[in-house]
Assembly symmetry: C2
Homo-oligomer: 374 residues x 2
């Protein structure tokens, strides 16, 4: 296949760059998949096991989410990809009408440490659930995601730990590029986009080398991986901004797994379009709630009589109906409803933050986004 | 106050007997509170701590629930009645627009066993949460429920364990009647109904004696307590039917805490109007789901590939959107969404069961209700 033919495979997928804010590197885009449109920059809530924890699909729809992320590694192990495929794919399985991006499982597999072994062919690992042995190759990972039927699939990569020796980073990144080429050759579905992943650790020249080798490949978009893995904030920002600046303008850019509100703002200003992170959902379950005046910990005694909503400027279901005092009570009583309401609020907060960023880009005022988070 | 004046206290409360099905003892009624109408026979989901576990108020509204139960004992201990009162009462606290019945805490306190001591004046007990000492009297229990602002309050009674010696049952029941009289004298709110509770253990003559002493009292309704405490099913049925038959027709009858589907049907046919039980919500969280073809345990391997909804004849949110395979996956993965969806289904099942019973009564066919549950 020619590159043009390759790119044309994802017939249901397109990305349109609507405008750039010349005062920063930020951009406004529209991503179209077989399951609808997504305005970018956009944040994808994480639905690890086919459920964004504590939210129903209609909660997500009400918040306005149009795309979520699901984890290939977790779904592959449980309930198993055949189960999901035979039930009509992941969208139908989880009752979600919007778009889905599946990661490749690379991050999860490589986080297993001693439980995995990498070869040129692929990665051997043992399940964190039952210790069973598995072998994943770039080809198999594409096939799994095609069976899941996500709208955007990711190639298998190695998420390099930090710190890492330059020589290892170089060899690993080169292998990730070879795996990316194998992934493209393994594609069969025409209704699924495939994104390449840029690695290169904290070395700008290795990031640049990876980009040079990847951009000629007919990927539908590019992700930047291997950030948010323990490096300091300045390094995260500088490597992120540097790498985004090298990526082709006409294809979407996804910064993987990085997701404090201030990170999303900085990354959007650098020209990233897509984000995911477990932070809003995980924090919700431990009672840490995002507000326009900073985070609050709903567990604290100061909220025991507080009649105010979590955030007086928020119009989510939680803030429209419930007081901090009630939420604190639910949390301390161990009520499941606490997790539900807190998650609705935090995911709404993230969604609304992206709304604000897009509006500022639209008005060529994206630099002001830095003032959103206190 | 005269009896008439006493009864007029609950100005926002009325019960209208709409029709009786002469083929059984069943009746159709309409209960009106300051928070709306409830068609009876009706089932009240249990919201122990101010939350029907795993459901939001809008889930309950969507199902069609008009009245829930909340537990005075639990709310008194946590978050404390002053917190709820100062935040505008229980309805506002929990964001619930429908009606609320609060129990008196009698059942919970008497379940504490060695942690409580009964005197004529009231009951001393230690909190199951922190061991702190408390003393509740009939008067205090009325005041607590008035502070909570429920639509229907219950008097403090002793829920007699089973088996129990006749002499103890007699003395305890007589004390419950004296406490009932004290409860009536303690009332201050005019917008809250107060129900008396019939005790008498498994002795028909003691039940009859209790009823004789209670029905002259100006209660807005009567509950039958002390059933479903370990007696066999035949005894539950016979004491329930016997006692219901002695109660005045024009006031609502509430069978406390008894709630398998077959129990609700039998009790409705005996002329009971209100029910509550933790069964649908608790079973939901352990994966036991009610269907028109009997209960299923969603954990079982047989459902791992099952594309069908829990109940093909059910139109709840869970059954409209999700397969047994997905629900089983969520359950085994420990996803919070499993509890949410299962609870929506089970509470909907109970609500729909009561719908069917009311329809059969309307058509003088209530005897056929015995065929509903397989």
């Amino acid at each position: 296949m020619t590159e043009r033919e390759q790119r044309a495979r994802a017939t249901m997928f397109s990305f349109t760059l609507i405008k750039k804010d010349s005062t920063t590197g930020s951009r406004l885009g529209r991503l179209v998949t077989a399951h609808g449109e997504v305005e970018t920059p956009a944040f994808m809530p994480v639905g690890t096991l086919g459920s964004v924890k504590a939210l129903s699909p209609r909660d997500l729809e009400e918040i306005g989410c149009r795309m979520i992320l699901a984890n290939t590694y977790h779904l592959y192990l449980r309930p198993g990809v055949e189960v999901i495929r035979d039930l009509g794919g992941l969208h139908r399985f989880m009752g979600w009408r919007g778009s889905i991006l599946t990661d490749s499982g690379g991050y999860q597999v490589f986080s297993l440490g001693a439980l995995r072994k990498i070869t040129e062919e692929g990665v051997h690992f043992q399940s964190h659930l039952d210790g069973s042995s598995h072998f994943l190759t770039p080809e198999r990972v594409v096939q799994i995601q095609e069976d899941l039927g996500s709208d955007i699939a990711m190639v298998l990569d190695e998420c390099i730990p930090h710190p890492a020796e330059r020589e290892y980073v170089k060899l690993s990144t080169q292998r990730t590029v070879r795996w990316a080429e194998r992934s493209l050759r393994a594609r069969k579905r025409s209704d699924q986009a495939l994104f390449g992943i840029i690695q290169g650790g904290m070395y700008e020249d290795l990031r640049a080398e990876c980009v040079r080798e990847m951009i000629p490949l007919p990927f539908d978009g590019f992700a930047v991986g291997g950030l948010g893995v323990g490096e300091d904030e300045a390094t995260l920002r500088s490597i992120g901004t540097f790498t985004a600046g090298l990526l082709p303008e006409e294809r979407p850019r996804y910064l993987m797994g990085v997701g404090r509100p201030e990170d999303l703002i900085a990354a959007a200003l650098s020209g990233f379009d897509l984000f995911d992170c477990v932070l809003p959902t995980r924090n919700a379950r431990t009672g840490t709630l995002f507000t326009s005046r900073g985070k609050i910990n709903i567990k604290r005694a100061e909220f025991s009589n507080d009649p105010r909503p979590v955030d007086e400027s928020c119009d989510c279901y939680c803030c429209r109906h419930f007081s901090r005092a009630y939420l604190r009570h639910l949390y301390h009583a161990g009520e499941i409803l606490a997790a539900q309401l807190h998650t609705i609020h935090n995911v709404h907060f993230y969604h609304h933050l992206m709304d604000k960023i897009r509006q500022l880009i639209r008005e060529n005022r994206s630099g002001e986004a830095l003032d959103i988070v206190l």
